[in-house]
């Protein structure tokens, strides 16, 4: 769907970014006692109990503000070669389909890359392991079919 763009192998930056994501998930558990799954935080921000909503809404604001803070402090170089600026598809029908699938799938399956992946695997949850294997396999199959079969 996206234009195929070669990306360079960035093991160190990816490892460092992963550690930061893990630390954030750890902070959410220590301070709020919840799983830092972005799909769960998102649905909870709209439907959660009132005392449980504030941190979710502000956490999302933190996510949204991350690229702005990097730019504000001239730290765009941190994403250099890895993600900024991102290449985004202008196939709107495809993006609408993709968004709908991700929204329905993460609610039905109770989690996404962060909830089942980062947090679930860290908690040695069998449900999360099955979910991660299932969505990874489906995603690889999807990209393979789109890029090499269709």
């Amino acid at each position: 769907m996206e234009p195929i763009v070669a990306t360079e192998f960035t093991p160190l930056a990816s490892l460092l970014g992963g550690v930061l994501i893990g630390l954030s998930a750890l902070a959410v558990l220590i301070f709020f006692g919840r799983i830092a799954g972005i799909s769960g935080i998102t649905t909870g921000a709209f439907t959660g109990a009132s005392g449980d909503r504030l941190w979710r809404v502000v956490f999302i604001a933190g996510l949204v503000s991350a690229p702005l803070i990097l730019i504000l402090f001239n730290m765009e170089f941190l994403g250099e070669g890895t993600s900024y600026p991102a290449i985004i598809s202008d196939n709107y029908l495809g993006m609408a389909f993709a968004g709908l699938c991700v929204g329905v799938g993460t609610v039905l399956g109770s989690g996404c890359t962060s909830g089942h992946g980062v947090c679930g695997l860290g908690r040695l949850s069998a449900r999360s392991l099955v979910a991660v294997i299932t969505f990874m396999a489906t995603a690889v199959l999807t990209v393979t079919v789109i890029r090499h079969v269709l």
């Binding site: 195929i4 709020f32 968004g99 949850s125 396999a137």
Partner: protein, 145 residues
Amino acid sequence: MSFKNTFVIGLVAWLSGLLFGVGLIISGMANPAKVLNFLDIFGHWDPSLAFVMGGAVVVTLVGFKLVSKQANPVLLPSFQLPTRQDIDKPLIIGAVFFGLGWGVGGYCPGPAWTALSAFAPGTLVFLVAMLIGMSLATGFKKRLT
């Protein structure tokens, strides 16, 4: 909730979200081109994102174990963690839908939020569709149970 509590909760939540978002950007997770190349193991394979999951899970594996000794979270009254262990149909069907959408768009929920401020039309379409999907599925799931 006192004003001071609200302020502290807000500050910690914002910093946690910021840390998560910066991690997504530095790691390359926030770039759909990199995500799709990671998933393209039979073509332009870029294995970088395996290191994201690796780095994050090492932290949660060790950290979560230490936190489990804590009686209550610091800022909210009690822990609320998933307890289910059964592998049911919605888990599998949901993961298949999620994998399909992730493979088509290159976005999972976190990166969809970090990309919002760039106001790229493609991301906005994805994000709105994702929120609609979540709300539809939340209603559907309620009727299932």
